[in-house]
Subunit: 217 residues, 2 copies
DNA sequence: TTTCAACTCCCCCAAAATAGTGAGGGCACC
DNA sequence: GGTGCCCTCACTATTTTGGGGGAGTTGAAA
């Protein structure tokens, strides 16, 4: 994968390319042409938490220019400043890639140049970059088949109801009332959903149901 | 939109096409060539909860043939039988479309034919169908600009930590311990995150943080 | 026919989360 | 030099969840 990254970068004649996978367990995985120092720093500081590229792309279907992201918060600006110090470049363009069970990956290209030049580049190569993102993601799955997610165990309709209503903020009494069942019955559903999802508590169960796409909120 | 659907169907020479949007509030919206009876039935029975096309596509990045989906549960099979009775056809192919804040839509084509013929059709038109899905989604957003999601308010790093750990099933004591802060302090984070997310309780806050991409679990 | 999954209902009690108040230091931006 | 956000810590009381039991119906599959 590393070789692919370097070849890609040279082919595109830009500063950096990177593929970044964020696992549903919080693990990270990837390849790219960033310096080791930056990679270590990123992991060490757990920057995935505050990286607006990650959260911004997670919220989008389409590729995104880093200029479109929200860099306004304090932590975010500090992160940006630091990333530039580490030679990432002042321009960035990332393509989100999604898969089953919350699989989420990013393909990013970086460079140092003015806005006009960068826009020309991204406009010209937009389709190509999207295809590369998909190709890289497929390759990554080939190399790491263990990361192919398990088939999500289906929930029963009532369990889906319960999880869905809990996910929109109802408490047990409200959910039971909405579903016109007793709170005791509701608890049975919540517990069986928890069990099926291997969740430790209700919040965990709802989070898993969401990331596994078992409920839509 | 309805005109577009009909034109599309005729152009593709198949039984049905449909665009189906599932809102983050649980609302649905769409257009297509399904019979009114089926649409009403679908809404009335809240079939979005159990429709394996919805949940299956929600879990996938790539377009999906309905044959690849899991139709094994009882409720699912009943749903399938009924959909065929309503003239949906025995073949289906859906393209998921995603956007910010859990925006999720589906573009589906249906027909009645044997597997080989359907495979030929979908293979031949795969790229076209993907493009149509994106095009329809953009059109839908034009017609319903109110559905363009709000910009997600960022959480502070500590709030992200808290939400993330809660989403993986930790209770408050464990989270506080993991973050090496007092449980009292943790509560402040959870409450401020709840406030920022407009959430009614912790489960709701975690669900929103997840669907808005503010945390990655 | 049995078996099994899904759905429904009930009790008791311990544990956890939430509401409503506080307070103080640090740091950045205007 | 105020204003606001972020981080940290504290108390009390109430509400909500969770764990441990158990029991009965339906309907579809084996």
């Amino acid at each position: 994968m590393q070789d692919i990254s370097v070849a890609l970068r040279d082919h595109l004649a830009i500063a950096h390319v990177a593929y970044h996978w964020v696992d549903s367990a919080g693990d990270q995985y990837g390849c790219g042409t960033y310096s080791i120092a930056w990679q270590e720093r990123y992991i060490d500081q757990n920057y995935v938490r505050i990286d607006p590229v990650v959260s911004g792309c997670y919220q989008r279907f389409h590729p995104v220019d880093w200029k479109q992201l929200d860099w306004s918060s304090k932590a975010t600006r500090a992160f940006q400043t630091e990333s530039i110090e580490y030679g990432i470049g002042n321009q960035g363009f990332s393509v989100p890639v999604r898969g089953p069970n919350g699989q989420f990956a990013l393909f990013t290209v970086n460079h140092s140049c003015d806005d006009a030049m960068w826009e020309t580049f991204t406009e010209t190569h937009r389709r190509e970059l999207i295809l590369i993102a998909h190709y890289l993601n497929e390759k990554a799955l080939e190399f790491e088949p263990s990361r192919t997610p398990d088939i999500a165990q289906a929930l029963s309709p009532r369990e889906v109801d319960a999880m869905t209503l809990l996910a929109i903020g109802y408490n047990r009494a409200q959910v039971a009332d909405t579903l016109s069942i007793s709170e005791h019955t509701l608890r049975v559903y919540i517990e069986s959903a928890r069990f099926k999802l291997g969740a430790l508590n209700t919040t965990h169960a709802v989070a898993r149901a969401l990331t596994r796409g078992l409920i839509v909120v």
